[in-house]
């Protein structure tokens, strides 16, 4: 399957935020400096964290009950960019919902910190993986902060992984 293009940086079109948008249209500072066609997203994609040291997904005895469960299990293959731990084991996946008829999947995802520098990368990886799952046509990733993520959400499996990586929790 041809990889999806994630980000292509190019001059921004004027945004229609409505006449009531304060400050809208007053300034075009720097817009001329965008380099047309520069595919910075592709560069980042090529270097993304498909980690060879990510442990395989758990050996589930039962097949997934539905598309949502299949999607959730697929996220065991998406790694945190900094450590060899899946987003599921890290406890960042709060909910996965799916509509088998339309192929729409919605993932509620939190992050360890509000200033997580990898938020974009992680969301791209989630979309990228789920769109490779048969029957998934659309993916929406929703960021949630409630309840706040804490280390208590890390699975036992994840704790073992982190300990082996030298992280004390």
């Amino acid at each position: 399957m041809k990889p999806r293009e994630l980000v292509r940086i190019q001059p921004r079109p004027a945004r229609g935020t409505g006449a009531s948008a304060p400050g809208a249209g007053r300034s075009a500072i720097g817009r001329a400096r965008y380099e047309e066609g520069m595919d910075f997203g592709a560069v980042l994609r090529a270097t993304q964290g498909r980690r060879e040291d990510l442990p395989p997904a758990p050996d589930f005895r039962e097949p997934p009950a539905d598309l949502a469960e299949r999607a959730r299990r697929a996220l065991y293959e998406v790694a945190d960019p900094e450590f060899p731990i899946s987003l599921v084991d890290l406890g960042l996946v709060y909910d996965v919902q799916a509509d088998p008829a339309s192929g729409a999947v919605t993932v509620d995802l939190s992050f360890t910190a509000t200033a997580c520098p990898c938020m974009d990368f992680i969301q791209w990886d989630v979309r990228d993986r789920l769109l490779r799952e048969p029957g998934v046509e659309r993916v929406e990733v929703r960021t949630v902060w409630d309840p706040p993520w804490t280390t208590s959400r890390i699975s036992e499996r994840g704790r073992d992984v982190l300990r082996r990586a030298g992280v004390s929790i």
Binding site: G23, G30, T114
Partner: protein, 283 residues
């Protein structure tokens, strides 16, 4: 979620807010986002050059936190008719609603501690007033933010106590804290601000300016008094919530800053907008 909780979150989205509070709420969020963004900048000024390596690292972490908080709040403003990209990257200095305390770099470490203890806590007190907000999008974000802010306060408290162990250190703190103290008290706005009253009436915030000042004092007061700092000579009123200011001619309601200040200086503006790396910006 209980029925009570559901009922308390009356407003699921910005469009659900009553007309009288929708614009003020957007303005309050913009004030908070700008303060977070600029405060992060001021922390970042000290990543190198702090009194200790650990303090520089703490400044790095606090800067990151503040930018994360700013990013969240700027993103919320889309639902209020603002363009977050424009807000973050394209405004002129006169359009920033951050405290005038942040317009220029902190001159010394005591000045940075004044921002760390006094202004950062003021922002947290304002966010805390929205922890049980009837405006759901805010309610579901505030606790995570406050959890992260606890470490900022501990950093400020520890360094204030440490610097105050010598007479010279206490004097440097008093000189730095006095103007910041006055500015932070004023930052909450006039006691009878009708906008705050409307927000409080709608359950979006749980307290008006005077109560927020009192909450702020209850946090920072023990730190400054415990450190043996004296403010009375500077202001004549001591470490109280008395606002030594007028509101009519030098205050921009909805901006929470002095009408006479120009805004962030040129270097601050260039950095805070990310001018240097603009070609690499991504959505």
């Amino acid at each position: 979620m209980s029925d009570v909780d559901t009922a308390a979150r009356a407003f699921k989205a910005a469009e659900d807010l009553p007309g009288a509070v929708r614009e003020p709420m957007g303005e309050l969020l913009l004030v908070l986002a700008d303060n977070k963004r600029l405060l992060g900048m001021r922390y970042s000024d000290w990543i190198l050059g702090a009194p200790a390596l650990e303090a520089g690292i703490a400044c790095s972490a606090m800067a990151q936190d503040e930018w994360g908080h700013g990013r969240i709040v700027y993103a919320m403003l889309r639902d209020f008719g603002y363009d977050p990209h424009h807000l973050e990257h394209e405004r002129d200095a006169s359009e920033y609603r951050s405290s005038e305390l942040l317009d220029r770099p902190a001159e010394g470490w005591p000045d940075l501690l004044a921002l760390n203890l006094l202004l950062d806590t003021a922002l947290s007190v304002q966010f805390e007033a929205m922890a049980e907000s009837s405006f759901e999008p805010v309610h579901y974000k505030v606790q995570k933010l406050l959890d992260e802010e606890r470490f900022h306060f501990e950093h400020a408290r520890g360094w204030t106590a440490r610097l105050a162990t010598t007479p010279q250190g206490r004097r440097s703190l008093e000189r730095a804290f006095a103007p910041a103290w006055r500015a932070c008290l004023r930052w909450f706005g006039p006691s009878d601000d009708p906008v705050d009253a409307a927000l409080e009436g709608a359950g979006i915030i749980d307290a008006g300016p005077d109560l927020l000042r009192a909450r702020w004092l209850s946090r920072v007061g023990p730190v400054v008094s415990g450190a043996g700092l004296e403010l009375a000579e500077e202001t004549g009123v001591g470490w109280t919530t008395h606002v030594d200011a007028t509101w009519d001619d030098d205050w921009k309601p909805g901006w929470r800053r002095s009408a006479e200040a120009d805004g962030p200086d040129e270097d601050t503006l260039r950095r805070v907008r990310g001018d240097k790396n603009r070609p690499l910006l991504m959505d």
